[in-house]
Symmetry: C2
Subunit: 190 residues, 2 copies
Amino acid sequence: MKYPNGIKKDTIFHNINYKNRGMNLENDLNITNEYYREIDKAYIYKKPTPIKIVNVDYISRKAATINEAYFMEPSTTDYNGIYKGKYIDFEAKETKNKTSFPLDNIHPHQIKHIRNIYNHNGIVFLIVRFTSLDKTYILLGKDFLSYIDNNSKKSIPISYFVSKGYEIKFKLQPRVDYLEIIDEIYGGII
Amino acid sequence: MKYPNGIKKDTIFHNINYKNRGMNLENDLNITNEYYREIDKAYIYKKPTPIKIVNVDYISRKAATINEAYFMEPSTTDYNGIYKGKYIDFEAKETKNKTSFPLDNIHPHQIKHIRNIYNHNGIVFLIVRFTSLDKTYILLGKDFLSYIDNNSKKSIPISYFVSKGYEIKFKLQPRVDYLEIIDEIYGGII
């Protein structure tokens, strides 16, 4: 069973796994982004899942029930917002794979989107969690695109994340402090 | 009949009105944003309508039908993206009112969002179309917030748009060239 949007049913009804601190990456990021908003550090949101609405029942003036709709493929990445006045944009993915990140996780129009944002000087990256290894990496857009452009492989080996990426260590607050890494990478530039 | 997200049924099944060139503001903006992407000027998208999914039928591995879902109130504005490396964010609204823009068109958390983006140096504004007058204005976030903070009225008079806002003249390509106005306002700063 697979949602077309890359949401897997088993991540929604996720069993508590203490090694992974009981949370999946999406939940961790939602909590992290909420924390960033609370401390007025950044305003970054997950975009709603795009849905094609086919039929709506109007029960009353105020209530409308959608009774036929379908998941659509997203044309952009899932997360975007503002950090220090700059545009920030990323896609977050989990894989159970221990040796590589399968590229079919990222749609072709999402790759195009990442390229556009990179060319326009946005801060753009992937956050990839290897759930079996309990490791989470940031891979900058430029390094992701460089891999895509120079390899015909259908996956990115974990060694590429280790050498080109940046590991995000789990913290209690915020859980996935990716902006700390962004600060390190960009230094005084932003 | 009103969708909770501010989408009116009559704008979806919109009659062709040659005075308004047959398009509503949302359609005009979609075409405009598509044009900006085609000429590689800016990457600005309308966010999907947030929907609360209650029940999904799994017909096959590939197809999933949502058969119970509800519209949710958006917590941010509808449009955001990147322009010249900067974060850009806006809300677009139409009103049939000829004398003022009713503030119940903008939810309290959207006002909060506009304030946050303004405080963090994003380019943030409203695009308001007075459909009966066939006039479309940009009102910058700072002027919108200034009005909200200094008035207890439930609407913004059109005179405020005339004095503080910037009229977007209709063009053939792109239809609603709001970035032209943004360039004028910000000049060489961005």
